[in-house]
Symmetry: C2
Subunit: 226 residues, 2 copies
């Protein structure tokens, strides 16, 4: 038997609006139905962001709770992964939904540039988010926007700071961070094999890089993220 | 004939104090004499930071001017490289010495974590520093604290945003950024060969990693930084 590939569906990111694409699910009921469709099509992890009444990204725990509940009711067995990403809040706000005890949550372990600003993940915030995930038994998906983030993830996991199995996502194609580059992708895979052979990894490309990176990830034995 | 190795001496960083090591040159006259000794021992680039009267890092252009003048007088032919690093100032302050037209200046092109905080180099600040370097004909030494910084350096150089020959420094061993890792070092070298075969590169290790990384760099045909 070959190894199964996990499809993680990011139903709603923190950037696109209905104006960009009318199909983007923004309200919690829209998100639940969209996740349900993806679940029936084979997705097994839902990577979740929530929006406020104006459609802007938020870290509001109450919205996350409603979304989590809805997905659990409609998609039995699907893994709910809540985003602690920095586009939806600042500082400790970003971890305000962790007491909901989702099975997974995203975690950034380093800082990098984004298209127009710095994506700030200072070491003390990372420490705190990791400690909260440990407290509430939430397995992190570590977002690797650069190579050192993989090294930081492995070091933190070895130090017992990240609960559960190590799961790393390579993110490529964010402007001013790591571009979509096949050689780098292959090196990321080799780095995971070298430093953390027991871990799992997935990869995501942004915008036009999405399909490209998903194909690389599936062919290389990894998992995928839309 | 084999290729010469450039030794760049960082006489005074922005962190150590006389309390840590009484030999650290802090005043401008101490820095000039220390650089002179390194010059006579074979160093050909002086990477310069300056300190204020309390010994704290500063970006004060007047101090940089005195240091540059002194090095030029005592060390004929030595290349003066002034630091625009973020430990000595914030925002546009960091480039306040570029009108002095040093031959080189350090330039960070991405952000990353430092031991206790985020090293912030937002895209618009990088754009501005690069434009100032172009205006005053200053060749940047790009500080690569992570792999994507090499990609950003090459892309900016190809786009004509970085004057002079591309010169990249790999920095390893800063806590919470890239560790001292031989496999990564080799991949950095291959990445330079792949993306910018005409460029030059050097490498620096922090603290106990310094000698290790310098040896790797010399053996691999690169240049060194103390
Ligand atoms: Zn996300
Ligand atoms: Zn349904
Ligand atoms: Zn002298
Ligand atoms: Zn420096």
């Amino acid at each position: 038997m070959t190894k199964p590939c996990i499809i993680c569906v990011a139903i709603t990111g923190s950037v696109p609006t209905k104006a960009n694409n009318p199909a983007v699910p923004i309200t919690v009921p829209e998100q639940i139905e969209s996740t349900h469709e993806a679940f029936e099509a084979g997705a097994s992890i839902a990577h979740c962001h929530v929006r406020d009444d104006e459609g802007k990204p938020t870290s509001d725990p109450e919205r996350f709770a409603r979304l989590k509940e809805g997905i659990e009711a409609h998609c039995p067995g699907m893994i709910v992964q809540l985003s602690t990403g920095g586009r939806s809040g600042a500082g400790a706000e970003r971890g305000g939904m962790l007491p909901l005890r989702p099975e997974m949550a995203s975690l950034s372990v380093g800082s990098n540039n984004f298209p127009t600003r710095v994506y700030e993940n200072p070491p003390d915030l990372v420490d705190w988010l990791a400690a909260e995930m440990t407290k509430y038994d939430v397995t992190p998906e570590v977002e690797a926007f650069d190579l050192s983030h993989i090294h930081q993830a492995v070091a933190r996991h070895k130090a017992g700071q990240l609960p559960g199995k190590l799961y790393v996502q390579f993110v490529m194609g964010v402007k001013n961070a790591m571009p979509v580059d096949r050689d780098v992708f292959d090196y990321y895979v080799r780095t995971m094999e070298r430093l953390a052979p027991e871990a799992e990894w997935c990869a995501a490309g942004v915008g036009p890089g999405q399909i490209v990176v998903n194909e690389w990830a599936i062919a290389a034995g990894g998992h995928t993220r839309t």
